[in-house]
Symmetry: C2
Subunit: 302 residues, 2 copies
DNA sequence: CGACATACATGAATGAACCTCATGAAGAAC
DNA sequence: GTTCTTCATGAGGTTCATTCATGTATGTCG
């Protein structure tokens, strides 16, 4: 039994138009075509879908069952097609974001909140968990945007610069290092380093400082949340290196000291990686604009 | 955009099989056919539904949207097709019943209850309201069975006899007519007659007694429910004529008297009208068997 | 790094499915 | 009874999905 949407449309049209000839007009076909089609469908179904005793033919019991299916399914199809039209028009789309940078939650949430208001139809999501191989996921279209500070764009991927930041040292004000004007790799030998639970090549402190200098901290422990890391640092259980914008709240707090990594301060750039073919999309451009300006405002405001 | 179920099946198969070639096997087509089809579908959609950068091709964002539609719609179709198979096999069907005879609720409910257990898949319903023109509704396939005591079967309709019954007079034991051995038309001249709220040609007392004798009762009032009619009769607010099986409960009650209509008792036959083409159906035969035997048992049991 | 295997795309040809046209039959309306 | 409406039917043409044969790109293994 090979039912097709065409058949469902026919069933519905005949019911609504109250007859085969009228339905044919609605469907832009000849009455003959519809008659043939109904006959074929009834052959497939193995039973009569219409009662022909009275003249304008009417649905039989079985026909009513099929009408029910039609009335469930066809609106579903219409909705999908409407969504595709919107998709083509660029009014809607998907923005699933992967973040390689844990601390980015800080500014990403406010940005997404603003974005959602401007583009309510866009399917927005943050996909944690696949921090690994986020760029591959971008290529596979598992996600549509990756927040990253990598630098070598693979082919087909665009790295849109967002803003610059300083990976910044933070410690308890009781920590001896609080005396120094800046912090170097060697200073970490005696420290417990607190980081996000991700691989070292995703952590600025390793990629920029420790790994090049071949220095290993005394110990390393991890915490998921920025607030937890700062709490541990505040109680002098260790030191951390976080992007400067995270320091907003602790800079005015006497329990903490923040210091640049030195001697010359490390400067890194945050990127939003997208597929090149998404570059032209209006909602994508809007998101990038927000992601460029809002974090900076937050930073200044703090 | 002419989406067809074939396309939805394709989308789902490619997703499940994890690739076009494998999906082609599942769908019993060549890989080439599927490739052409996907291309056509993407032309229709106006965008790529699959990502071809990596080798086994995968759904794009838009493709995922279509997959969602497929996963909603295809089970719906499968369910319908399964139902049609069951319909062809006679395991299922529809049994919508119209009753021209109000008092028939009494035995119809127990019968339907038994029937539902034996044929749980049959779509059972009682359609009140269209007591008028019930036979026309049967022809239009609005209903599948009509409980009636008419006698002239229209072409295409089968009148299956169920059982015979006596329209029986019932009154309060305080009513003077309680003295008589039987009741005639003339006896109603001084009585308030209580009936169901239907036209006179559906009421035995009129068709069999009063109309032929051209007798009009003193007054007529109506009540929907048998229990209400009996209550009114019991408090001597009027008299009624009901099928004998209804009297089951009141016959042993000293407040009531029941009398045959006379001089020779009126005998009527109850029928279940069906379409001739439904005659062969197993569930229909089963229902008729129940409707023949159960009311009689109820009558004896009472 | 080159050879081989795998996976998808393409083009022409075939054939089935669907549509139209012309016409017939059977109710329904007058 | 005549006429109008409504659906059915058959032949013929066109469209469109599928197949076969082959090309191309990607992934994999020695």
């Amino acid at each position: 039994m090979y039912v097709e949407l065409r058949h469902l449309r026919t069933i519905r049209a005949i019911q609504q138009a109250g007859g085969l000839a009228r339905a044919a007009e609605v469907l832009n076909m000849t009455q003959s075509a519809l008659s043939h089609q109904v006959k074929g469908l009834e052959d497939q179904a193995g039973m009569e879908l219409f009662v022909r005793r009275s003249k304008p033919m009417r649905l039989s019991a079985a026909g009513h069952r099929m009408l029910r299916a039609a009335e469930r399914i066809l609106p579903e199809i219409d909705a999908m097609e409407e969504e595709f039209r919107a998709l083509r028009a660029g009014r809607t789309g998907r923005l699933h974001i992967a973040i390689e940078c844990h601390a980015c939650f800080d500014w990403l949430f406010p940005v997404l909140e603003m974005f959602r208001h401007a583009w309510p139809e866009i399917d927005v999501d943050i996909r944690a968990g696949l921090a690994f191989e986020a760029l591959a996921a971008l290529n596979r279209e598992d996600v549509d945007l990756v927040i990253s500070s990598d630098r070598e764009p693979p082919p087909g991927i665009l790295f849109n610069p967002l803003f610059d930041y300083h990976p910044t040292f933070v410690a308890s004000s009781q920590n001896p290092l609080a005396e120094q004007p800046f912090i170097t790799a060697e200073d970490f030998r005696d420290q417990v380093l607190i980081t996000y639970p991700v691989s070292r090549d995703k952590l600025d402190i390793f990629t920029e400082i420790l790994t090049p200098a071949k220095v290993e901290p005394r110990a390393q422990r991890t915490a998921e949340l920025t607030a937890v890391i700062l709490m541990l640092v505040g109680s002098n259980r260790g030191v951390a290196v976080l992007p400067d914008w995270v320091m907003r709240e602790v800079r005015s707090n006497a329990d903490y000291v923040t210091r640049p990594l030195g001697p010359e301060p490390v400067l890194k750039r945050m990127y939003a990686a997208t597929r090149v073919e998404d570059a032209g999309k209006a909602y994508m451009a809007h998101f990038l604009r927000l992601a460029r300006s809002e974090p900076v405002k937050l930073q200044r405001g703090g």
